[in-house]
Symmetry: C2
Subunit: 249 residues, 2 copies
Amino acid sequence: MLRVVKIGGNVTDSPGLLGGFLEEFTSLESPKILVHGGGKHATRLAGRLGIENNMIDGRRITDATMLDIVIQCFTAVNKKLVAQLQALGNRAVGLSGADLNCIRAKKRIHPEVDYGYVGDIEKVNFGGIQALLDNGVVPVFCALTHDGNGQLLNTNADTIASAIAGNSDQESELIYCFEKNGVLTDENEAKSVIDVLNQTNYQTFLQSGVIHSGMKPKLDNAFEALRNGVKQVRITNYRLLDKGTEIQL
Amino acid sequence: MLRVVKIGGNVTDSPGLLGGFLEEFTSLESPKILVHGGGKHATRLAGRLGIENNMIDGRRITDATMLDIVIQCFTAVNKKLVAQLQALGNRAVGLSGADLNCIRAKKRIHPEVDYGYVGDIEKVNFGGIQALLDNGVVPVFCALTHDGNGQLLNTNADTIASAIAGNSDQESELIYCFEKNGVLTDENEAKSVIDVLNQTNYQTFLQSGVIHSGMKPKLDNAFEALRNGVKQVRITNYRLLDKGTEIQL
């Protein structure tokens, strides 16, 4: 079974958590794919350059200047992860959606908000990814896609992971890995992990405020993956084998 | 015949020259490999961040802070080139030496100068590169290698191109492409291209000052490639098919 693992920014940003994660990821049998962002790095670099970070509903407004920053930060995180994965014995290769034309997107057109160079995924070309997997390669995707006309675009890493898993030619599991143990009923209580989250109790949790609206985009991507045929979706901590929260339709 | 093309910073930095180059490169038959640096971008970003650029004999002193800048800039240039090459129909993939463990290096130890995170190439694993070429892929290498222990290293792009061509399993040509028409006897006269440069007239040109010492590292890499069995080495402009200066032993 193909495992597509998305690693969150609070894990990549903490050397301790990252080291633990990379060991756990290495212990997973192939085929496996890693997906990451780099938003925290982009926010920091923009700050040092005196450039304002504009976010709407957790999404980054990406004008040309910010796109340059995003590209620099995401690709740098990418190659550093690849070097570390190689050291642990993974045959890793760092990719954007432009490489091998893996993920084509179109620039988002929104009636009210100009998101800039933000891309909504149009097509995952799984053939190129499968050829790498068949050779024992571990693809590592950063949160960049391209429009097929030479333009890189900023695309949410959770969405990329969901789209890759949902378009794979084989049975797949999608794992969203972050700094908590799963989706919690009490964010101050590490053990309050929701065991199974389905569309019914999800709505109840949302309405009661137990699940914060900040989790909504991630859960929307999780449900979307299941609708696209992904066999299992989990939200868990950096120790990937902890069950965490299982998402069901 | 495999063509390994190194593109200079004055070409990648000029949208006009770069556009022309990418079209010429696209028109080359596969197998082909592109190699680039990004030093001008790194110098600019360092300047904007108030970080000093230290160069010795044209080589960048790369402490941890500068390495971060170098990684960001080289990998960003890399993925932008990949997106543009894809738009022109090349099946491009952007790589560092860490990807697929293609190029392993060791941190330079120098008796007098601490170059920091600068890597001298130990081994080109051509097998992984060949597997890509066999699938019609166009590898695009930035000027980063790794030490096999998780550390990325800054390595001169001319040297990377020479090492890749010199370690290929097939007949290869190495083309150093820059903003001039070749090695010139008069740098103000575009037509004063030296047709053939060999070790004998090279020494004469060096002693008479016709060839500037700044060209020396590039020519050393060119001669090294020939000694490693590369069939043809040329230094030419962005129109790759112009003959330029042919290097001979």
